[in-house]
């Protein structure tokens, strides 16, 4: 997208996609865990690249990151990021006292969320979207995110960040679930939904 200006309608569309995606993700996770799961209404932010690490908690803050590649009809990345304490909370809530590696539990939870979220998005655009298996790592926010930013911002200096936070069994997990789409994919997706909205005389 050489020069798309993100409109008010675009932001509404992204918000609604985030809502449906995170609703699905919460249901899927809740069914598997058999516990109440809530995902907050997603925040949509159009970010200058130099602001991204601060938006996600601070460039030098240490986080556990679970990362997925998105391909086929849409290209981009999904990143699930939480701090160590909240990773432990997820592990305790999900696996109780069982001796399971924290990273595996976090990665599996992120996997369920991503599958449901991206699945909902695929249904909405009536097309196929693939997710790679998760990759987990611990490092500074800036270093976890900069390679992805490089890939989605090779033309423009701004990108849309869609993020939500997670609550399992009343334990608030203040993490970020982030969808970053490559410029062309974001553009195509917004055009697709814009045309649907306009054809339906949506007001």
């Amino acid at each position: 997208m050489a020069n798309r200006v993100i409109s008010k309608l675009d932001l509404d569309i992204l918000g609604e996609i985030g809502n449906i995606g995170s609703g699905n993700a919460a249901t899927a996770l809740s069914e598997i865990l058999n516990r109440p799961v809530l995902l907050t209404v997603p925040k949509i932010k159009l970010c200058e690249i130099q602001e991204i690490p601060e938006t996600l908690g601070g460039a030098e803050e240490i986080r556990t990151g679970v990362f997925f590649g998105v391909s086929n009809a849409l290209n981009g990345y999904v990143l699930f990021m939480i701090n160590g304490e909240d990773a432990q909370k997820i592990k305790n809530t999900v696996a109780g006292k069982y001796d399971i590696d924290v990273n595996s539990v976090v990665s599996e939870v992120a996997n369920i969320i991503s599958g449901a979220y991206i699945g909902a998005l695929a249904t909405m655009i009536d097309n196929k979207i693939d997710l790679t298996p998760p990759e987990v790592g611990q490092d500074m926010v800036g270093s976890l995110i900069d390679g992805l930013v490089a890939c989605v911002c090779s033309y423009a200096d701004k990108t849309v960040i869609i993020s939500t936070t997670l609550t399992i069994d009343n334990e608030k997990i203040s993490g970020f679930y982030i969808l970053l789409l490559e410029e062309e994919s974001l553009d195509n997706m917004l055009d697709y939904f814009n045309s649907i909205v306009k054809n339906n005389d949506y007001d």
Binding site: I49, E60, S71, G137, Q138, D139, D146, V149, C151, S154
Partner: protein
């Protein structure tokens, strides 16, 4: 002396001749923190390079530090403008890690390594040599330089900060 920390974010470029300034590129993954310093004039600068090549950039792009091929001449010219001498300039760089192993196309694969190669190529075009560097691997880094001394330090998680 009270030090002033200045964050150099993704795509940014900053130069200074104030002795109280410390320039910092926090949380470098595949990005490169590039320092140029004139030890005689005690003038220095830093660029936070995100990508190798500006070929596809928007024409009205103003983030000089974002691409290797614009950051090196951009940083050099900004330093010369405030009194640095090209023959004195020494270069220090850190970053260019590969944070995730993901087999999805070739773009994200080795973006760090591609950045290192592009920065080195742009430096040799300007006939500038790298004095010291810490690149590659798979851990994040924070790079900083004190303008008063020209001393540069690099820090990774779980490791003490070391001088470069």
């Amino acid at each position: 002396m009270i030090m002033t920390n200045i964050n150099v974010g993704m795509g940014e470029l900053h130069v200074s001749k104030s002795p109280d300034v410390v320039l910092i590129a926090p949380g470098l993954g595949s990005c490169i923190g590039l320092i140029m310093y004139d030890p005689i004039a005690k003038i220095g600068g830093m660029a936070h390079v995100v990508l190798p090549d500006s070929a596809n950039a928007k024409s009205n792009n103003v983030l000089l530090g974002k691409y290797a091929d614009t950051a090196i001449p951009g940083l050099l010219n900004s330093l010369l403008k405030i009194g640095a001498k090209k023959s004195n300039i020494m270069v220090i760089m850190a970053g260019g890690a590969q944070m995730f192993n993901l087999d999805k196309g070739s773009n994200i694969l080795n973006i760090g390594m591609r950045n290192v190669i592009a920065v080195k190529a742009a430096l040799s075009k300007e006939k500038l040599n790298v004095k010291s560097s810490d690149t590659g691997g798979n851990t994040g880094r924070t790079l900083r330089i004190e303008i008063s001394t020209g001393k540069a330090y690099v820090k990774s998680i779980g490791q003490p900060e070391g001088e470069l």
